[in-house]
Every structure is written in C-alpha cells, then in structure tokens.
Symmetry: D2
Subunit: 389 residues, 4 copies
C-alpha cells in the first residue's frame, strides 16, 4: 500500500529535458516523479525556445539559474554544482533521444527516457553498453506497465492458471490521426517525419506499448520470427505507416499478433492485450485499467478488480486506494517512477540484490522495443515477408 | 414488419437431409423454415440410422411413408409423387454436401445447404453451373447475415457515412474446442477429420461466416491477395487447424484480417466485424446482435438499436417486434429462409426482376466461401506466403 | 433441449381474439404458439373491423369461415363444430380482457391472456374461481419469464447461493412515451385512457413484468406492505401515471423497490431485476437475456451464459441452441406457450401430478399482478402512504 | 489544461489532522493537495498515538518539531510561528469533525473537512456562521465532484439539452459491509457506532456523495419533501442503517430517489447518477468516470469521453492528459484541492469576484449534506413518512 511516505532517504535531484508548457507528456512525467517524494525537480531545459522554457521552469518552481537553454548546458552546469542533478528525464521528439540519453549517461546521470530509446538496434545496444558499464539506470516510460493488474496477470500466468500459452494478441489502435491532423498540429507533425520520428510511426509510437506488456506478463516467451505489413492510409505520411499488422511466432509454438494504428476511426485508445492459454484467457484494456477479464473455458467469465484482497500480493504492493475507486494512468506512471527511483538508489548504493528484485521497463526493455520495430520495418519493406528475430 | 402472414401463395413443400433428433443445426433449419409459412415440412431423410430418422420424422409430424432412408431414395421417392417436394435443406457433415446438393439440383430441387458447399473451388463451380443452368436456387446458411443491423451497416457504408473504407477486421473465435473434445463428442469428431470436414476446420467452419458478412456490407470490395497461417494447438487435429490468421489486401488499398479460432479459451463466440473508414467505423458482434456501434472520429460513440425508426427502411423490412426486445439468431435464420422462399418462388415463376432485388447468401456466396478457404489453405501450407486471389 | 418435436400428441386447436395485421403483440403470440407444434391456428376474431380481420386471417392460413367478427360469435361458432377450438389467446386492449376471458372460460376454453387480466382484484378473483371450478388453464403472458436464466436464478436462490435474501430491486423503465406520442399513435392512445387501460398505465403495463420475475425467482417471498408514488409527467395523461416508484416490505425483513416508467428518456427497455442476498447478488436485464450476473462479495464478478453446461438442469430444459448464440424474446414466449400447452393437455387428461410440475404464469400470477397494481394505486392516491398488502 | 505549473504565487502552508500511516483517506488528501503546488505539507497531528504520528510525519518529510500530538497543540503551536500554517485538512472519524473544524476556523485557518461536517444541522449552521464571519474557506471533500464530466453534465443540463428535468436518480450502493466486518476491522468499527459516526451510517457515508453531484449538476433544483426508510441488515448495527431508500419531491414537480447501501453484495461502488429530462437523459458512474452516457429519446445512445474537443470548455479546464487515457479519483480530488487553494487565496486577498467564479463543495454544500441526513433520519425514524425539507 502506497501512502505517500518516503521510499528512499532523500528525493533524487532531478531535471527534465523537454516537457514544456504545452507538452502533455511533460506533465505526466512530473506528476509521476513528484508524486511520492522520490524525485525533486531542481533543474531543466524544458523547451527549444530558451526564454519560454525558462519562464515555464520558474512556474514549476525551479530556480531560474537552473533553467538551462539546452541539454548540453544542463548537464555541464549541473555537473559543476555540489547539489547537481542525479537523474534526468528525456521527453523530447524521438530523433533526439539517442544523443541526449547518451550524453546523460556519459555525464554520470540516471535517465528516464521516452520510448523509443533510439532509431536503430545498434544505437540501442550502444546505450545499453554505456549504461551497464557505468552502472547507470535507464528507465523507459512504457507507462501502462505500472497498472496493478498487469502484475496480477503476470502472476496468474506464472502460476499456470491459463494452462499452456498459445496466443498473445496485442493492439493499440486509436483513431485520432485518421485525418492528416499533422497539417494543423505541431505536436503531430514530427511523428510523421522520418528524420524526427525514426523508421516508423505507429509501430514505435503505439505498438511497442502492448509489446512491453506482453514481455512483463510472459517473461519467458521469445519471438523467433515475425511478419509485418504496414500502410499509410493518409498518403502523405509515406514512407511512415499509420497502420500496421504484425504476426509473430514464439519459441514453443505460440503465436502472436499486433495491430498498431492511428487511423482506427472513432476508437479512443484500443490498447488491449489478450493472452490465451489451453484452459483460460486473460484480457486487459487500458481504458478500463482497473478490471482484468479472466475467462476459463467452460466456466462463467470473471472480472477481477484492482485493490481486492483476492489479488496476488505482488499486485497489491502498488495499491493506493480502496477497490472500487478508479486509479488512472497517473498512478501507473507514478508506480513506474518510484521503481525507477528505487533502482537508481540501489544502483548508487551498489545494491545488486535489491536491483534484481525490481521490475520496471529498463534498458533491456528499451532495446527490445527498438529491435521489434526494426524487424517489423524490415519485414514490411520486404513486402510483408517472414524475418527471423 | 413481419407479422406471420404468408409471403408466397402456398408454402413450399420441403424436406430435410440430416438434422436428426440430436442435431442442433437441424432444429434451427426447421424453426426458420416453418416460422412464416414459407415452407411446409413434408418429407425427410433425417438420420444415418433409418429407424431413428423415421421415428424422429414422425415426431416432427411427417408422414411415415415420406421418412426415407437416405437422400437418394428421398429424391427418387418424392419425384414420383404429384405432391413431391420442391426444396430440400442439407444439414449433414461437410463431406456429403457436394454429392447431396448436386443430386438435389439434378432432381430439379431448390436447395438450402450448410456451408461449406463443398471442398474445392472446382466442385463449387460445378454446383454453380448446374444451379444456373437449371434455374434452381441454392441458399447457403450464413445465418448471421439475417440480422437486421447487417443491412443497416450495408446501407450506411453505401451512403458514405464511413468515408473511404480502409480496413475490414473479421473474427469468429470461440473457445469450445480448446481441449480435444472430439475424443468425447461425435458432433465434434467429424469436424477435425479431413475426410469428412474437408481441407480446413476453423477457416471453413467459422471464418467464412464473418467473411460473408463483409461481402454483404461491402459488395464492391475485392480481395486481390491474402496470406494465412494456421495452427493445430490441439496437436491431434493436424493437418486441420483449430486456429488461423488471414491477412488480406483488397483492390484500392484497403486491408483486411480474419481470426478464425475454436481455441480462444473462455470466449463464447467472438464473432465480430469492424469496418473502418476514413471518418468513422462500424462494429457488430453476433452475441449482441441488436446493437451496432457507430464511431465517428471526434464525436461521441453511438449505439444503434434494432427496430428504431432512425434505421434505414431496408433494415426495418425484417423487423418482427418493437425495439428494446432482443431478437436472436432464430430470427436471423428465419429472415434468410423467407428470402430463400421468395427466391425459389420467383425462380419458379421466371421472375428475374424480383430475383434481382433479393439479397441472400446464394450460390455465388457459397462459391466465394470455398474459394477463400482454398486460398487460405494454399497460403498456410506454403508457409504463410502471399497468394493471389 | 427443444428440437421441434411434438410435446403433446396433437397440436391444440387454437384461436386468437385480437392480434390483427398491425398488432405487434399478435405476431409474438402466433410465433410462440406455432413454434413447436403445440398449437394450430384454426380460427380467430382478429380485428375490430371484421373485413380487415377476415382478410388477415386468410393470410395467416385460417379457413375463411372460421374468421369471425367478434369473440362472441367465435366462441359460439366454434362450440358448434366437432373440430372446434380448445384454446384461445386474448390480445386485445386491457379493458376487454375480463369479459373475453370470462366468456372463454365459460365456453369451456383454455385461455392465454395478456396482462393485466382485468382491472380489479374482485374481477381477477372471479376469473380464478371460474377457471378452477371448470378445470381450465389460464396462462398470462409475462413473457420474459420464459428466459432460461430466470429459471437458473430461481435455482441458485433456492440453493442458498445468495445467502439470506435482503433486497429485491425491480425496474422496467423505457423512454418511448417521454413525449405525448398518444396524440399520434392509436396503439399508444388506449394505454393512457382509464376506460380502456384501467386504473393505471405503467404500473400495470410494465411494472408487473419484473414483479412476476421476482415471484418466479423468490416463490416464498411475501409482500406485507407497500408504498407508491406515481407521476404524470406528460400532464394530459393524468390520472394515469407514466412513472411510478414502489417501495415494498416483505415478510422476514427483506425490502423491495419497483421503478415503472414510460418516460425514462433514451432508455430502450431498462427492465432489470437485482436480487441481493447476504453473501451475493444476481442481476438480469431483459435486453441481454442470455447473461446473468452473479456477484459474490469479495470474489470476482461472474457472468453466466445461457446454454452452458454449468447451468442447472431445470434451466437447460428450455435450451434450443448452443451457448454463444443469442436467444431472444421469441424463444422466451415460445417456452411459455409450450408450457401452456402441456398444462392444458394435462388438465384435459386430469393429470394433476403433471400439472404440479409445470411452472408458468398461471391464473394465480394473473391475480397477483392485479392485486399489486390495485394496492399501488391505493397508496399513490392516498398521497404516497404505506398500505397493507 | 493543467500542467503542474503554479496556480497561486506560493503554495499554502498546510497541515493535516488525522490521515496517519494506515489511513486510506489520508493519502488521497495529501496526494491531491500536493499534486499541483497549491499546498505544502509543513505540519500535522497525524495520529491519535502521538509517537506513531510523529514517526509518520517524518516519513512524509515534515519537520519533527511540527509533528504535534493533537489538533489543539497543532493550532496553538503553529499560531506562534511566523511561518505557521494557513490551512488544515481534517481526516478524522466523523464525531470529531465539528470540534476540530470549529477550532481551526477560530484559529483563523482555512479548512478542508471530510464529510459529514458534523452531526446536526444546528452544528453545521454554527460552522457556517463562523466561516462566513471570519472570511475563512471550508472545503468539503465530496471528491467525485472533481471529475470533469460532472461539469460537462452541468453545462449540458443548463443548456437545456435534456429538456425539462423530470427525475434525478442517485445511488451509492457498495457491498463491502454485507457481513459484520466491523468485528474485524477498526476502520469499519467507528462507522457503525453512533457516538463516533453520528445519526446515520450509509446515508451520510455514501448517500451524500451523489446528492452533492446532483447539487452541482442541478443547482436550481430544491427538495420540498422527502421520505426515507432505512434498514440494518446486519442487525448489530441498529440503530444505524446499512441500507436506505429515499424518495424526494422537488419544486416544480420533478422527483428524486437515492439508494444508499453498504450491503449491496458483490457491487464495487455502484455510485451512479441518472438525470432524466423530457427529451434526454444523462448517466454517470463513478467506476467509469471518463465516460458520460447521453441518451436522447429516439436517437442512438451516445458516450461522451473525457478530454474530447466536443466537451464544454468549462469541463476541459480540468484536463490533465489526452482523451483515451483514464483519469481516476486522484485527479478528481486534485481538481478540488486546487480550487480550494484558489478560493483560500482569493479569500485572503479579499477577491470576492474571483471567489464567485469558483465552483467547489463549500460550507453551504457541507450544511446541505447534514440537513439531508437529518431529514432522512427523521423520516425513517417516523416509520417512513413524508417530511418537509
């Protein structure tokens, strides 16, 4: 049960790169990091426009002299202070993640980075090497993974309640970009520009989210090959896709599918994961995150509710309020951020034992997301052919 | 509005092949055919076991001497009577559909046949030739197509309410065979025996149902190529699949997918069709057939209800009771059967104009279902490769 | 499992009073009665307009000479035939039920009557006396009671799965008359005219439906007092109500409530019953009649599905098709009509033992409905005061 | 759009009374108050056990010397400091609210108090007098009112989208206390002890929540009389009720009902509000707070989603993240707390104009809740009779 008391002795001194006034993602980073006294926002380079960034930093309560013009001056300036930052969050367009994360790690900082970590598997592996060699934590904001019922699903699957796993069906298919909104919205614009967004749009932007949920729920499952087709239904988005289908084969004979879309007209999010075993299935939907559907063949379907005593203790660890009350995405992110803090603290203390017990989207998860996108693009560009993983 | 009054001057004299005492499908055929005075059950060969079939026929009210031992004697015996049958329904295992339907057509009878019509496209085309040359009607029991809201969807799509069609997502994925139930149940046994079931299990058994719904809703859409992978999660079912994924490309750039499954543990039916256009989507689920979801991007999602005055007149033609009251699958089948009767009557009268206005799953729909299964199997057997349609 | 075979040796010779061409309720009576060879429609007085009624009777396949001008000539004419009718259904406006049902019973006929049976408890008791003294069956069309899951609920409650019963919440609250539609629609007009509709509108028209469901599920529960307030939100309907609330106290301390409404704007039906016990609750909704919600405190909520093997055998007796396929209101009515036929047949054979096993809305249920409306009106007219039951 | 930037120049110096380590309600107060830099937690008397309270305060980051043993020493101690607290939240059992709130107001503090404010209308009016005369803000934590779609409902009703308001149906009916859990749980124990809980259990504990939602949505609606019956299904709870029904009559002819329960076995929360007008209805459910159902008679039902551009600007003011992402109860509370802060700040600045624009559950709302409970108890204790309001 989380009650707002400190989890580590002192909040980590923390900065943001990006996440300015109009950034939606910036607010959820801050809201999550500051929720439970794990981080204190003491510096930042919040905006490409330094004046605007500085003004906003001040509104956030940051010391004006620690509102920097860019990430380089932020890392340099803080390095020169006895009370300099210990961790930084990167909430900028995709094309900058690699350089900023690399610079932060090289500056000795722990990093929380938006997905995707970078554009190529090679880059991702580079970041992993640096992080591991320098004992720095990299957290990746696959934020939905912080929902309590994801943990519950993992435990139920591990306990064999589904029988042998046969299928994993993933989708994140919203409709907000079914028209070329990027002509009107700057926030949408960079997402469909390959220089800024990388080799894919929806595969990376939305598809990797349920993919990570499947990694949490099914840690043993390994993709052996996949096939992907991608479409640009709004033609001006080509070569970037606004819709994609991926079929996957796992070791041991299970199969998977992922539908990634920004043109599922009328759908709000449509992020769902359904895991099908030989005796039962589990289904979770991010728009109703407090419920988990459990369907045993030949029995009445059941709905598990967040916060109830029948859940696994590991799931209840993250509970913040009594069952019935809806927790939302902010709680999920906060759950990740406090685990990031625990990991950073453990890394700083060299406490490998503690580190081993902490479950969060780490550098390996970041690498896997990049790998999956790269393979999907390779398959799609090859005409929708099977590629080894 | 259907009120039980006669649609044709005299009920068609009608027989069944198969559909015996324990046959679930037999009952829905009879219930549908007899519902609205379109057919009168006057003869039959209801069972492989002639004694049992005769006894059951008598319980159904059939004259004992018109309870035949098999389809051959049925067609011969009735041909010799002045009041002989005009139409026959075939509700036997798949492996017999071709021979019985062919014999019935050659005996000058109209036919209602369970899907799949037969095992190969070549056979299907043979049946089509005979039916067309002899002016006989073949109705195929894609029964879900009789639901009123399928017509509503067709009209909305035709009117452009969805914008340009981009995606068609189909699934029929139940969980009733997630264990090898065929070892216990004779009714399940033949479905996984290639000699009796044909080249596929779930592709033909369930996948063709939503496929036909898509043909009704989107009559202009043509598949140009497809890719299929199929699995036998219960291994003893190989080479027949109990699960399959199909990806499709349509003329004009739209894409489609079909998930066919009998091992979706815990799912009741899971038959759904979602049609996604450039401005809105429609979704229909056979377990809630009185509702149609209409989601316009940027607007509140809407739920259309059967029987309401805002529906298209073509949809309301089949109404049997006020909105709010649930109609079920029996009404859907009855709606098909009365259209079958109207078509048979029109064919007998040589009324081509009337025939052209009647929408029902006809011989062409039967052929298309067989073609789709054949192509899917070809793709899957080739290792999940794209095949031209 | 119902498969269409005969339940009684010969279909009962049956007529209708009312239920003409445009009558919605007429069609569901016929559809139900004719479904399973329990009744044969051989005569009728279908319409106030004899010409129109005769024409419609012929379309239904009735011998023109057995299409009568009114119920008196129907009963007299049929009494004079060796093949005269054995049973009659009354589907006319409320104000005529008493006279027609009384005449039918006195003519020695079994009767199926629309609810309410009549306007006063005294009349209802008169009908009961005649029916009992003449050994005639009166079935009342509380049609929703024919849904399989109502039987399942009864069995679960009887088995103690809910613990002690504490609350019974009933509602039937649609919105179709939220405007004064009676100025446009003849079908609605008589319902708000006290001479034709009786002492109440929605209490009798919709409230008695879930009331009867509660009687089926909870045969032991007895109302000891109730309080009712009623409103005429469309003012021209006064003194008849278009909305009413009833609170009830049962023997033993349980409480009940009923919301009856025709002005629940935007609601389709809103007929629901929730039974709350000391350990669990059951909830059923007539718009999703194939599902029954079972909620055990402290456990995941469950959804029971029609047709599944885990249901009580008594519930499965009425099954017509495999689980997953939706059955609708027509099946529920057909289930009642075949029980009416079994009861009529047993009464004719003097088989009291068989009669005792048959569960259907009988004359006692009809009397109870009238009593409840009378008491509610008494309470409401007294200013919303408690009245003994 | 809320983005975490400061709304007032400096966070208010703030303390809590109650809300200790194991208090669920304590955490949501802190989480809400600290979310958006409106308050800074600088002092507290967190626990009846001073040692435990002090230890917990330290974990929360409070200066040990500002962790007090009780509310009296808290108010006295802080009054003596130049940086003393400006506001206090009261999160203690009901029986202490009056005394603590009164003392806080008299100490010149703004107050946020749990509902119910106190036990009697007289006490409530006393608090109101003090607050008004001293220009102090009292916020009452009817937390659900902070959900964005409540504002949307208010605006839609005000704009006449429902037509004339006819009915307001309220319920908060959970099942967590369907057994005598108070024998095991201290947290439950005081709720059923009249000395600590006051004159009612569920009427005050849960019923007042949807009551306040109705006050927000329908500011013009005035109760003129009501009738209440209450039950103690767990007998040891008498005279306090664990279930109650209230019927209400409003000025102008509208009617209302409230079902308050802690014994609705198997229900999670069951807090719902349905407002029915002459042309449409709105329905909101606290377990799915991001959706608002809008049902116009004769049109397809609609679901409005939080965060969408089609919502009223007043509703979107509180938006924290893009539509599709679920916000939960924590956001609702945070929305109230920042309004509390704005009101306190405006009061301190004497800015009556600003105060007039702020909508939050204030002292008047607190008084109304107490009045409603008092009238309900009066009616129920009188045998379920109508009482003037």
């Amino acid at each position: 049960m989380i009650n707002g008391s400190k989890r580590i002795s002192q909040p980590l001194r923390w900065a943001m790169v990006g996440g300015g006034r109009d950034s939606q993602i910036g607010y959820i980073h801050r809201s999550a990091a500051l929720r439970d006294q794990s981080f204190a926002l003491v510096a930042g380079a919040f905006d490409l426009d330094p004046q605007r960034g500085r003004a906003f930093g001040i509104e956030l309560g940051v010391d004006p002299e620690r509102c920097y013009t860019d990430y380089r001056s932020l890392f340099a300036g803080e390095a020169g202070r006895p009370d300099g930052i210990q961790a930084v969050s990167v909430a900028t367009p995709n094309g900058t993640h690699f350089a900023i994360t690399k610079a932060a790690l090289e500056a000795g900082l722990h990093v929380v980075c938006e997905k995707p970590l970078c554009f190529t598997l090679e880059e991702a592996q580079t970041l992993r090497e640096i992080a591991l060699s320098r004992n720095r934590i990299v957290g990746v904001t696959y934020g939905y993974a912080g929902h309590q019922l994801i943990e519950q699903a993992r435990e139920m699957i591990a306990a064999g309640e589904l029988g042998d796993i046969r299928m994993v069906h993933l989708q994140f298919a919203h409709g907000f970009h079914c028209e070329p909104v990027e002509t009107q919205s700057q926030a949408a614009q960079w997402r469909v520009d390959p220089r800024l967004a990388g080799p894919s749009y929806v595969l990376g932007d939305v598809g990797t989210h349920p993919l990570y949920l499947s990694e949490v729920m099914l840690p043993e499952l390994k993709i052996i090959r996949l096939l992907c087709t991608r479409q640009s239904f709004v033609k001006s988005r080509a070569p970037l896709e606004d819709n994609a289908y991926t079929l996957m084969e796992y070791e041991g004979g299970a199969t998977g599918s992922v539908w990634s879309s920004a043109v599922n007209a009328g759908s709000m999010h449509g992020q769902k994961i359904r895991v099908i075993g030989s005796r039962a299935s589990l289904e979770w939907w991010d728009e109703r995150p407090n419920q988990l559907s459990f369907e045993v063949q030949g029995k009445p379907a059941q709905v598990l509710e967040r916060g109830m005593g029948y859940l696994h203790p590991q799931a209840l660890l993250d509970d913040r309020i009594g069952a019935g009350h809806p927790e939302g995405l902010f709680e999920a992110w906060a759950n990740l951020y406090y685990r990031f803090a625990l990991a950073m603290d453990a890394a700083d203390r060299g406490d490998q034992q503690r580190l081993a017990t902490l479950r969060y989207p780490d550098i390996h998860a970041g690498v896997e997301g990049v790998r999956w996108v790269e393979r999907c693009v390779q398959s799609a560009n090859g005409g929708g052919v099977w590629v080894d993983y």
